[in-house]
Amino acid sequence: MNARAATAELEWKPWLVRAAAIGSGSAVVLLIVPIAWLTILGRDDGRIGDGPLFNAIGAIGILSTAGVGSFLALRRPANAVGWLLIALGLVWGLGGLGDLYGRYGLLARDGDLPGALEAATLAQNTWPWLFALLALIVVSFPEGRPVSRGRRRIAVAAAAAGLLTCASGIAVGDDLDPPLEDYSAAFAFLGGAWQAAVFVGVCGLLAAVIAASVDIVRRLRRARGVERRQLTAFAYGALLVPASISFCFILNAVVDIGDLGVGLLLGGAIVLLPAATAVAILRYRLYAIDRIVNRTVVYGVLTALLGAAFLLLVVSLTRLFATVQDDPSPLATALATVIVTAAFLPVRARVQRAVDRRFARRRFAAVSMVEQFATRLRNDREPPERIGAVLAEALRDPGLVVAFPRLRGAELLDPYGAVAKGLPECTTTIVGPAGEPTALLLHDAVLDEDPDVLGAVTAAARLPLEIARLRVEVRGQLEDVRASRARIVAAQDAERRRVERDIHDGAQQRLVALALSLQVARRRHESGEGVDLGALLDQTSAELGAAVEDLRELARGVYPAVLREDGLAEALRALARRTPVPVTVAADLPRLDAGLEAAAYFLASEAVTNVVRHAAASTLTITAEHDGVRLYMSVIDDGIGGADASRGSGLAGLADRFAALGGSMRVVSEPGRGTSVSGELPCES
């Protein structure tokens, strides 16, 4: 039956699953009652229990495996790991109970309890199942069943070897283990030659356990993302059990922490494996597990180091002061406290680095790569633009792109100021406040599965990113200024060409034609032909008048005299007077800086020229307002709209002029809704 079918069936009868999970778990937990009872009955006989220490450890182990197993089975009934943990607790509990019952019955009650020998025999043959179940749990983790052919083979081998070892151990029989070495096993119906089967079974068990261990290490190496988290949590649990057992024994050898202390420590260690298993399966999205383990190790090591330093200091200082005064201990304690306190932070930093290097190698390597870059950056040995390449290398995502949102314009820029583009299907991580991000990282979605690494690396990269962003911004502004300067120069040249053209086509042509007609008159006069002097003078006077008007027009276009002499308001009224469309002018202004007045005036005159040429407007309103801080200019018409502000150099040149004065201008021109050209300039009157 595959897992999907199992799940479906289990969903069908949830009460049954719940009952099975709770019932089997509780049954195992209840085994503690007779175990405790037998322990109390046999407490005076040293041969019956293994002492309070190992009883406590056993009890904790049974309770934690059954408890966690039952919890897992309730939450993930389709996952075999929960049920296997319950079975582990059951085997452990039954083995312990049978052993105690056998010892109590045979040793304390001289065999008058029923089935004591049988119970002892069976109990002494339960151990193969502990190993077989362990291997089964490992190969079933975390999917809940052995999903690959290799893992299925290990599972079958473990179960077969467990069965063979257990069954042949019972069937062959022999003397029981101490302290029941004087008794022979209960069911010896096979000859001694079958001892070989026991041997084969043990070898099989050993092979299965080793194969399962190798398999999980290989899977851990290959795993990515969520599976890696699960396996890591599981591996931490598995690692901490033997580690804390060794630590406990070493500690007990150095300082007498008493049986209770050892019991608590060992019990705690044994609880870790099922606990880590449960965390891995149920809460693998609880990414902080790495950090919790990391912190635990850091503070554990720190406490041990500082505690030892403290003790050493108190002892040596006490000895030292004893030669000087009678009761030196408070002083010695105080001094030692000060020294140890002072050592706390630097020692903590070192321990943290050491632990990071060992337990969070990836994060450690990535963060230190970025930190080293930041140091080289401070020392001027790297350009900040390299931050993108450094982050790509640190996070092992060659496609990673650092992008800065530009203040103006929607496009993203990379640290070199080019348009930034992430790979298709990349995800975005925002660095800095969401409203005003320092930078965006466009990266492979797989990095999101390691938010710890990503978070630590981006935190370390914050300053270099900020520097790179500022450089991009400054470069962008510089480019804008350069472009605007070039446009201003170009506009100036265009303006000169226009003036040259106007002179050439206007006044100059009129004057040339006039010169020719005067030549004709002279030739006629010389040749004695009659010349109509009145007509000639009328024509000449008219041509000269027209030429003067052309030149006036030209001079006004270059810089209106009324603007220079009477200011913006009068110049706007003069502009209105000579415009063929009716114009309303609202301008009540003091005299302002000549540059500002000129910019505002040319905005109006350019807009009015465009309206007359293109807008087909019937009215036009020019408004100029000054609030003491800024000058606001607008020209609004009721024409056809649809003007393109980027077309035609006149308005673009004006935008540069406004920008150069620290102001801004804009054109709003929706088709059919008229056109509004407006601008504002900072100015103090």
Binding site: H504, Q508, Q509, V512, A515, L516, S517, Q519, V520, R523
Partner: protein, 119 residues
């Protein structure tokens, strides 16, 4: 009488020039306001001389002159402009034109002198 076509986009100049040159025994056989019309007029009228303004709306007088030279019409091209002579491009000497006269210096005598020098 030499036949002449006047090419200029300013009608005022064309009429003044026609009046002046006709006094000096030139026969103005046609006028044109831009380069295309000039090419058509020369092809149709085959004048001895074409008085050609440099700044025409559709193409420059240089280009008109080059095309006439390529077409091998035999018409003598005289460039005119209201610009001062120091502002005339070096193209004036390479476009096949016989010479240049500033508009305000234009007269039958000046034109005759230039044609005599070219011949």
């Amino acid at each position: 009488m030499r036949t002449l076509v006047i090419v200029d986009d300013h009608a005022g100049f064309r009429s003044s020039a026609r009046e002046l040159l006709e006094l000096d025994a030139f026969e103005v056989v046609g006028e044109a306001g831009d380069g295309a019309a000039a090419l058509a007029a020369v092809a149709r009228l085959a004048p001895e001389v074409v008085l050609l303004d440099i700044g025409l709306p559709d193409m420059s007088g240089f280009e008109v002159s080059e095309r006439l030279a390529l077409a091998g019409t035999g018409t003598i091209v005289v460039l005119v402009s209201s610009r001062s002579p120091d502002q005339i491009s070096v193209r004036a000497t390479r476009c096949g034109a016989a010479g240049f006269i500033a508009k305000d210096d234009l007269s039958g005598a000046a034109l005759e002198a230039l044609l005599a020098g070219a011949a």
